[in-house]
Amino acid sequence: MDLSEQTLEKIEKTIAKFPKKRSAMLPILHLIQEEKGYLDPEAEEWVAAKLEVTPIQVREVVTFYPMYRQKPIGKVHVKVCRTLSCALVGAYKVCEKLEEELKCKRGETSADGKYTIEFVECIADCGKGPVVQVDDKMYELIKPEKAGELAEEIKRMAEAGPEAVATAQPGTPGFKG
């Protein structure tokens, strides 16, 4: 599997931080997913060899945790919180509005590959609900009447060229955590 020098270096550093190699499993899967966008069987086998475990021991982790993806996602990843605190102030309406504006159903990627919308469980920002996490950025107090505005911003993010996404830095649009 070809990983960038930068990612390989981060992986080595991460492994060194734990008393046992296997403990680096979750952080390493995050690092690979950040570069590749998702985790395929090749990645699972690579991690297994790296951490000296069997491929099934990686696979069981990838399939257990909701944040690990086994398929590519859209250019912009939109996560709308659906749990009670956000729902009470309009999260379901917000999600509907985003689905409509971005022409993308929850749990799916839009036909043009630009957006993936996920309806996720509580992301611990309940006092500022409804909250929407776009890539690694939080948007708070997105009332249904403000969802259109957010959709416009998401569309602008999707317009950024492929270079902008490939080189996106943490904390900027396009970066996939």
């Binding site: 931080k17 734990f18 008393p19 046992k20 296997r22 403990s23 680096a24 499993m25 979750l26 952080p27 899967l29 995050h30 951490l51 475990v53 021991q57 069981e60 982790v61 257990f64 945790y65 909701p66 944040m67 690990y68 996560k79 659906r82 749990t83 009670l84 605190s85 729902a87 009470l88 102030v89 309009g90 999260a91 379901y92 309406k93 996720v120 469980e121 509580c122 992301i123 611990a124 920002d125 309940c126 006092g127 500022k128 609900g129 996490q133 690694d136 249904p144 943490p170 904390g171 955590g177």
Partner: protein
């Protein structure tokens, strides 16, 4: 026993949260007296520090409220194995958002609290297990750790004491169950977050890598800094007997000013919190229900009366929801829990069956699948209440909800079973009239309560 004075916050761990000009770098922290408590602590004997925490009466702030000093006392110091400290930063209980502020705005307070706790318990290494969605929070902590290392507040030979300890950040990946301490430990070992059977796997004896391990919440570890600063006995004077210190109340849902408020335990009531701090109900609305301390704590209903005999003063009280003092003892007397202090408020626009279906969907999604009663029960509840809210409810579904929940609680490895059951067990008796009324009306195919937002 309630002082009827204008209620004020008492910010201890939240002292600098949202303070103008306060930044999360080490220079700002040092300017505000940062790491001074740690320097003092490193002159003391570890067992004396542990005794201070025990004397303080500090209880864990992650929801279960177990006394921190006791948790530390159970640690096996004689095994010869390394002892590990884990900070549980997997804040995931719906309605809870108190640790987020500490992590994002004051990470050095957490590091100082951790380094004091690690020293006090002779820990070989410390970890912060942070929920995967706190992407920037994990970066902030990693930066803060490097800043602290540069100034020798962690790493090798900390402050020339001869004691060495690293803090390692590990990001989770979206599984609620990893907030359960043994599920967290499994996850930190690079596995699925399946909670372990206790006994024998009490973390204090057989935790991370089968070594003695302490798992404490973010806020708890921040509080430890203040316990050591003021001394255990002084700290114990804050709050009420049996619940010392402050609680951070994170209020969400139907109030004018949702947000977080740090209040001395027992200093005011739910009424004060919801009206004085949070500005009361939304215009034209009335409060209807309150989930006091995170979504799994039992729901309270406006109009209910709680007749209690308070152990602290021997007096008898009759409280409505708004009269309940904000301390763990009083809230416990009313049949629910203080939990994490994440209060979810619902007003009269809320369809209570949809609210229950929303929570059932959460717990169904988050069951790890290890124990049959929880795996099957939580999904059954999710499907059942989902069907009931989609217009296909039968009157007999209402007792069925409770019947299922009754068979989950107490039959699982971890407390997720209770978390699945409690919302249902508490809500069904209190709101069944509303459910039945809805069922009889919904044949027309319309939403029962179109005033509120859809919740499922």
């Amino acid at each position: 026993m309630i002082q009827k004075l204008p209620v004020q916050e008492r910010r201890i761990v939240y002292k600098h949260v949202d303070e103008e000009g306060y930044t999360n770098d080490i220079e700002c922290y040092l300017k505000n007296g940062g790491y001074e408590v740690m320097k003092k602590a490193y002159q003391a004997q570890p067992e004396d520090l542990r005794q201070e925490v025990l004397n303080s009466g500090l209880k864990g702030r992650g929801g279960a409220g177990f006394p921190t000093g006791m948790k530390w006392k159970f640690v096996d110091h004689k095994s010869g194995k390394p002892i590990y400290l884990i900070c549980n930063a997997d804040e995931s209980e719906p309605g809870t958002f108190k640790d987020r502020q500490l992590i994002y705005q004051d990470p050095h307070q957490l590091i100082e609290g951790m380094m004091i706790s690690a020293f006090a318990n002779n820990c070989a290494q410390a970890f912060i297990y942070i929920r995967g969605e706190f992407i920037n929070g994990a970066r902030i902590l990693e930066n803060a750790i490097e800043e602290a290392r540069a100034k020798n507040f962690l790493g090798d030979d900390v402050l020339g004491s001869g004691y060495s300890c690293e803090i390692t950040v590990c990001r989770g990946a979206g599984a609620y169950i990893c907030g359960e301490e043994t599920g967290l430990i499994e996850s930190l070992e690079g596995k699925r977050g399946y909670p372990r059977v206790k006994p024998p796997y009490f973390p204090a004896v057989l935790g991370l890598y089968q070594c003695p391990t302490i798992v404490n919440n973010v806020e708890t570890l921040c509080q430890v800094k203040h316990v050591i600063d003021m001394g255990g006995d002084e700290f114990a004077k804050i709050g009420v007997k049996g619940d010392s210190g402050t609680h951070i109340w994170g209020v969400s849902g139907h109030v004018q000013r949702p947000g977080y408020y740090e209040i001395e335990a027992g200093a005011c009531t739910f009424g004060d919190l919801l009206h004085d701090f949070c500005g009361g109900p939304l215009p034209g609305r009335q409060f209807k229900a309150l989930i006091p301390g995170g979504s799994s704590t039992k729901v309270l209903k406006w109009g209910e009366k709680f007749k209690v005999k308070h152990p602290n003063d021997g007096q008898e009280y009759e409280w409505g929801v708004e009269d309940i003092p904000l301390d763990a003892i009083s809230i416990g007397l009313c049949g629910t829990f203080l939990g994490t202090g994440g209060s979810i408020v619902m007003d009269d626009s809320t369809d209570m069956l949809e609210a229950l279906a929303n929570l059932n969907a959460f717990y169904g999604h988050e069951s790890c699948g290890q124990c049959t009663p929880c795996r099957e029960g939580s999904l059954w509840l999710e499907k059942l209440s989902g069907r009931m809210t989609s217009g296909k409810a039968r009157p007999e579904d209402v007792p069925l909800l409770k019947d299922i929940a009754d068979q989950v609680a107490g039959r699982t490895i971890c407390a997720h079973g209770e978390a699945v059951a409690w919302p249902v067990q508490s809500a069904v008796p209190k709101f069944q009239d509303e459910y039945l009324d809805k069922i009889s009306k919904q044949a027309s195919g319309q939403r029962y309560n179109p005033a509120g937002y859809p919740l499922i």
